[in-house]
């Protein structure tokens, strides 16, 4: 199942420049939307373990709601303190208005 495309969410359920939490295969995943494109990552900040889906999306960046650690939603790279460890990202595709994720 790990390499299968799994349905995550309807595309229109996420606003532009926003994030939504979903659970796939028991994994907590954050789905991001920016400039009409979708991205996915684990839903936990590597600094304080807060849900990133409670955070805010500013362009290609997700900012943790608790201490404002920042990650790139495309690559998962930790961009600024207090976050220093990158987050895992997942492949995403959109078909017929539905977002699919490959949670490897």
């Amino acid at each position: 199942m790990a390499n299968d495309w799994l349905f995550a969410i309807d595309a229109d359920e996420i606003d532009e420049e926003d994030v939504a939490p979903i659970e796939i295969e028991g994994k907590e995943v954050a789905i991001y939307r920016n400039n009409g494109r979708f991205y996915a990552s684990v839903d936990k900040c590597t600094h304080g373990n807060a849900f990133l889906s409670d955070g805010i999306v500013v362009g290609d960046v997700i900012e943790c709601p608790l201490h404002q650690g920042r990650f790139c939603i495309k690559t998962g790279k930790a961009l600024s303190a207090p976050a220093s460890i990158s987050i895992e990202t997942f492949e995403v595709k959109v078909e017929n208005g539905k977002v699919f994720v490959k949670v490897g």
Partner: protein
């Protein structure tokens, strides 16, 4: 409670007060308000610096002029704090430049402060864990003046600067910093010390008093005003993790709010640190009624702290506080 549990608990309690949907519009970032506030403050600093210049030939008048200038300089702590959260500006590089500028002028190591302050947000008012606990109980009047005079600040910030420059961090401070970030924190302290030693060398070599008159002495004598604002943030509030009651929102005038970058809305800031300073007033109007708002101004709060939240002039030895039969 572990750090992870403490963080999860904070977010759970935040959701009990405000939903993500309601909160979201308040988290929107902008550049303009931060630029207006920052350059407004710099203009005031420039103006008071000019007053120091005018007062220089007139003997002792230079002291009140330097005090006024120092009060303005001390308010650079407000943008330092806001930029440490990364919420002051939408454009990240402006945020980081202002963070560094304010850190150097106010003598706060900016990157370490970011970690230390994150620890404060996780453990605000939790005894033994909050790295920025201002005057925990039992608090004394001498302790209050030690804090407000900022002697504690120079001991703390000087300690960070010199220890980190030497490649050492205390175990208490160390708990807030990931291992891989230590070299960056040590490097920032070395860069800052190099700048300060450079200014000292310039002063000694040229015999110029510019650095002392326009920065160092005003910074030392002016900082108590900013410290008094900090006292009002938490001192006397409950000493446990309670988003509703562990901080204090002080209703105050526009000018004070300008100089403290709206940190008078301190409950709202702790409720949702992602909200930039320019949206805290709106957030206060939304949820302030559920939080610890006091309507007596900063001077009233100082009086309350001094008259209601002190346990004496100085700390008694344990046996002195025991009532003997």
């Amino acid at each position: 409670m572990t750090t992870i549990d403490a963080n999860a608990d904070l977010l759970k309690r935040q959701r009990e007060i405000i939903s993500r949907k309601t909160l979201k519009p308040y988290t929107k970032r902008k550049d303009l308000p931060g630029l207006i506030y920052f350059f407004g403050l710099l203009s005031c600093i420039g103006l008071t610096g000019f007053v120091v210049f005018l007062a220089e030939p007139h003997g002792w008048w230079i002291w009140p002029a330097m005090l006024l200038h120092g009060i303005m300089l001390s308010h650079l702590f407000a943008p330092l704090h806001e930029t440490s959260h990364g919420t002051a500006f939408k454009t990240r590089w402006i945020n980081e430049c202002v963070l560094w500028f304010c850190g150097i002028v106010t003598i706060w190591t900016p990157l370490y402060f970011r970690y230390d302050h994150a620890g404060h947000h996780t453990y605000a008012q939790v005894p033994g864990k909050d790295p920025e606990f201002v005057l925990p109980t039992p608090r004394t009047i001498l302790g209050y003046f030690y804090y407000v005079s900022a002697m504690h600040l120079w001991v703390k910030n000087g300690g960070w600067l010199f220890r980190h420059a030497l490649g050492y961090m205390t175990p208490f401070n160390r708990q807030f910093v990931p291992e891989d970030q230590l070299p960056k924190i040590f490097l920032e302290a070395r860069i800052m010390l190099a700048i300060y030693f450079g200014l000292a060398a310039f002063t000694i070599y040229t015999g110029s008093l510019v650095v002392l008159t326009y920065w160092l002495i005003p910074t030392i004598i002016g900082v108590p005003v900013a410290r008094m604002l900090r006292v009002a943030d938490h001192t006397g509030c409950v000493e446990k993790s309670d988003l509703r009651k562990y901080a204090r929102t002080v209703t105050t005038d526009r000018i004070t709010r300008f100089f403290c970058w709206n940190m008078s809305y301190h409950c709202e800031h702790h409720l949702a640190p992602s909200v930039p300073f320019h949206n805290l007033k709106g957030l206060h109007e939304e949820v302030g009624h559920e939080l610890n708002t006091v309507d007596k101004g900063y001077i009233g709060v100082q009086w309350e702290v001094l008259t209601k939240h002190m346990s004496g002039l100085w700390r008694k030895k344990p046996h002195e506080s025991v009532v003997q039969d």
